[in-house]
């Protein structure tokens, strides 16, 4: 050892100690800490320090990191169905350094799984499980399961769509354990369904039971390791080294490297953004936060964390076996593998057995790697697949709808061709699966961004929680509701797009894209469009009075000057009062004359009620406040009301009778483009909130 240490150690003996030395002596006399430190540091490392021994230390370091970051996260986390997502949002986007802390916790958890695999492989390959170290090996396996358990329970805690749906799968699988399964599931979930107690229980497991057990086990693991000493790589050819500083230096460098990788993963997107000249939004770094968990909205992009993907994929091997297949894949086989690992110290007593253990471990890792790769390939293959080569198969599939007889017919009964085509169909199916997964991921990302946008409004999140806020958001919910409720009859497509003609032709009612805007009214008053599929073309009003009026009366330039029509458009546009509406001075001047034209009982007013023009309800919809929020809600609630279409209503249901409160409002707000828009960028908002 170094002379420095020698001096230190002999200080107290040889010369009169200084004040610090006296203090040190005081404590040493009463605790004996010097001997303890000495014993800890001056452990002999047979064959010298080696890089291959660092994995255990990096794991301890990773665990300490999780403990520190986890405790601080705990200080700001709130486990509850209306506060978990909200508090994690607050940590990630509003608290100083929250993104970094959560990022470290999230990425280090993944690093820990990798380090576990490396540590396990090193122990097995070096035969470090053999006598007298069997018990310590078993302890190590238990520690591994505890770490995986913490990873699993931690994934749910943000209570976002991603964690929620992935963890549901995991707890459902736990229910497959024979006899006790359903009870285990119910205890862990805190009832029969997910809710407050699922979170409080998962949190207690994640931050209490599991780490406390882990610490106890770790203490025993480390003291047993010290008792047995390091299991040196054989044969020993180099001189022995010392734990301090030789091995400690290698351990410290490895820990620093792990930390550097973790920070690198967190900061990489910032670097990319910087190089591309985009602004860096700190809240977007580190761990992702998807939209708040919604039990009523399935999440197609749900996947477990990447290190559990192999299990996810493994279950697919047993697809079609029913419940017994899941039981085999999720419980029996993993149980057998764990059992085999627990038997390793026994099997390893024989040289052949040791070799078997190594081969078993390496093939296990290879198998896990392969399954993970397969899972990733299934989800992402459309990114690297050659789409052009599938075009022919795609066309044939659409044409024949995959019917094997029709396919055989189309291919002229050539068996070789048919077999080749079936293969292509399989590839095509894989391509489509991947595409829909990627679409789901993209959709989830948009939803997540919107949820965070809503949460950072100046009014923040209502006491009822972010999910309710998100569910009442017209921008994200409108398209979904429209697709569910309206799209079976109405189209909603920009007429300028190439696919517009096709989509409008398929619909049986008007195209509601831009309803209320000047462009929409202009189309309605266009003799060429009014009986087209975008307006009344596919409805019972195709040959009605309005179409007749637009095609004949309105085309008569003696009574209807072009400027008159522009005035009507401006007036109708003003009635709608769309939120992003602005009028030029010229158009604004047309509004009042337009209103007079509409009210005129010789013109529009002959059929339509407008303000106080005295025309009675019944012949045509009242167009006072046409396109406004109130008008649209009224129309959708009951189109058969005499104020709207009355008896002439064509097939439009009275949605007020079937829809939950608030749904019609969401659709109306979405049609009118009325939703929350952040005034400034996120960073600016963050600056405002911290005066």
């Amino acid at each position: 050892m170094s002379t420095i240490h020698q001096q230190k150690n002999s200080d107290s003996v040889q010369c009169k100690p200084g004040l610090l030395g006296q203090l040190a002596n005081f404590f040493d006399d009463r605790t004996g800490y010097r001997a303890l430190v000495h014993e800890t540091l001056y452990e002999r490392v047979p064959g010298g320090a080696r890089w291959r021994y660092v994995w255990g230390s990096t794991l301890v370091f990773a665990f300490m990191t999780q403990l520190i970051t986890g405790l601080v996260l705990w200080s700001s986390y709130s486990a509850g169905a209306q506060s978990a997502w909200e508090s994690v949002y607050f940590i990630q986007h509003e608290m100083a350094g929250g993104w970094l802390l959560r990022g470290i916790h999230h990425v280090m958890a993944q690093a820990m799984v990798v380090l576990l695999a490396l540590h396990l492989m090193q122990v097995v390959i070096d035969g470090a499980y053999r006598a007298p170290r069997e018990v310590n090996f078993w302890l190590g396996l238990v520690l591994m399961m505890l770490v995986l358990g913490m990873a699993l329970t931690g994934y749910l805690l943000p209570w976002d769509q991603k964690g929620y749906w992935s963890t549901r799968v995991a707890t459902n699988l736990a229910g497959l354990v024979p006899v006790l399964g359903p009870s285990i599931q119910q205890v862990v979930v805190g009832g029969s369904d997910y809710g407050h107690h699922t979170l409080t229980r998962f949190f207690a497991l994640h931050a209490g039971f599991l780490p406390a057990t882990l610490v106890l086990m770790l203490v025993v693991h480390l003291s047993l390791f010290r008792k047995h000493g390091l299991c040196a790589r054989q044969p020993i050819v180099r001189a022995d080294g010392m734990f301090w500083p030789d091995q400690v230096l290698k351990d410290a460098v490895a820990c620093l490297a792990v930390m550097a990788v973790v920070l690198g993963v967190i900061l990489m997107p910032a670097l990319v953004a910087m190089l591309e000249g985009r602004p860096i939004v700190l809240g977007e770094l580190g761990a992702e936060l998807a939209a708040p968990a919604d039990p009523s909205l399935p999440y197609a992009a749900a996947r477990p964390e990447w290190y559990f993907l192999f299990l996810f994929q493994f279950l697919k091997v047993f697809e079609g076996w029913g419940a017994s297949g899941e039981f085999l894949g999720a419980i029996v086989v993993p149980g057998l593998v764990m059992g085999a690992m627990f038997l390793m110290p026994i099997i390893g007593r024989w040289n052949l057995g040791h070799r078997f253990n190594i081969v078993f471990t390496l093939s296990l890792m290879a198998g896990i790697g392969l399954l993970t790769a397969l899972a990733l390939n299934e989800d992402y293959c459309s990114l690297w697949m050659d789409k052009a080569s599938l075009a022919e198969a795609d066309a044939l599939y659409r044409q024949t709808e995959g019917d094997s007889k029709k396919v055989a017919e189309a291919l002229g009964g050539d068996q070789a061709k048919i077999a080749a085509m079936q293969k292509k169909f399989a590839t095509l199916a894989a391509f489509r699966h991947s595409q829909s997964f990627l679409a789901a991921v993209a959709e989830a990302e948009v939803a997540g961004v919107r949820a965070i946008e809503l949460a950072s409004r100046p009014e923040r999140i209502p006491p009822s929680g972010a999910l309710e806020l998100f569910r009442s958001d017209a921008k994200s919910q409108g398209p979904r509701l429209f697709a569910q409720k309206c799209a079976s009859c109405h189209s909603h497509v920009d007429p300028a797009l190439p696919q517009a003609t096709e989509q409008m032709a398929k619909s049986s009612a008007a195209n509601l894209f831009g309803f209320g805007s000047a462009a929409w009214v202009r189309g309605l008053l266009d003799p060429l469009q009014v009986d087209g599929p975008g307006y009344f073309g596919n409805t019972a009003h195709k040959d009605g009075d309005m179409v007749n009026f637009v095609k004949n009366d309105l085309a008569d330039r003696d009574t209807w000057k072009l400027n008159d029509i522009e005035a009507v458009i401006a007036a109708m546009n003003a009635e709608a009062g769309l939120p992003d509406q602005s009028f030029t001075e010229g158009t604004a001047a047309l509004i009042e004359p337009g209103r007079s034209l509409i009210a005129d009982t010789q013109r529009c007013g002959s059929c339509h009620t407008f303000r106080d023009n005295g025309t009675e309800f019944g012949s045509a919809p009242d167009i006072t406040g046409w396109g406004s929020r109130e008008w649209l809600i009224g129309l959708i609630t009951d189109p058969t009301h005499e104020r709207f279409y009355g008896d002439t209503n064509d097939r439009m249901p009275r949605f007020g009778q079937t829809e939950k409160e608030g749904q019609i409002e969401i659709i109306v707000d979405w049609l009118r483009g009325e939703w929350y828009r952040p005034r400034a960028t996120k960073q600016a908002v963050a600056v405002q909130s911290s005066p």
Binding site: G229, D240, D251
Partner: protein
């Protein structure tokens, strides 16, 4: 390290007193370098999560309470004319970390009128006091028998004009709040919190 080595020393454990023989000067310098480097690397690695943790843990220090503003509390006509104070809730929008509460009771004030007798009754100036005891922050109550303010926690006593009744654990009189009567008859109060337990009336940051 010029240690005598045994090939099968894996079980050997140096006893605490067992010193490793001194290496030569070069070895010593190398070991010293290794020690420093080990400390630096280990320190940097460990300090990263500690620093990130402290950064977030100390986030509350950045927070400032909302700026004091005048809030309507009551109609002037609802304050008794006989000089007895009456308690009114203070209602305002409140932001609690991520949750925004719209129009929530956030505290209470006592309003009282200076007693004026005769035809002018009920026109006396209005005074407002925070209901928070300046001693330890409990909620001051009205003692209807002794006709005074009394804090239920440590028996601080104040007269209806807010001044302290000795002996009192409270270091200062009740905290008067700025208030005025608007044209529409609303009494508006400048809602502020003050540090408790000190003689001075210092607004909370």
């Amino acid at each position: 390290m010029s240690e005598p080595t045994g090939k099968n020393s894996s079980q050997a454990k140096p006893s605490p007193g067992d010193r490793v023989s001194a290496g030569d000067a070069v070895g010593g310098r190398r070991a010293f370098g290794a020690e420093v480097l080990a400390l630096v690397c280990g320190g940097l690695a460990t300090l990263t999560p500690v620093a990130a943790g402290l950064w977030m843990f100390l986030d509350p220090l950045r927070k400032r309470s909302a700026a004091a503003e005048f809030l309507p509390v009551a109609q002037a006509s609802s304050i008794p004319a006989d000089g007895v104070p009456r308690q009114f809730p203070v209602v305002a929008d409140r932001l609690d970390a991520w949750t925004g509460f719209a129009s929530e009771p956030i505290g209470a004030v006592y309003l009282c009128r200076q007693k004026v007798s005769g035809p002018e009754q009920g026109s006396g100036e209005v005074q407002a006091f925070s209901a928070t005891c300046p001693h330890a922050g409990c909620f001051v109550e009205i003692d209807p028998v002794e006709k005074c303010f009394r804090c239920p926690c440590h028996n601080s006593k104040f007269t209806f004009d807010g001044s302290m009744v000795a002996p009192s654990p409270s270091p200062r009189a009740m905290d008067a709040l700025e208030c005025r009567i608007e044209k529409n008859g609303d009494v508006v109060v400048k809602w502020e919190n003050f540090y408790t337990g000190i003689a001075g009336k210092v607004p909370r940051l």
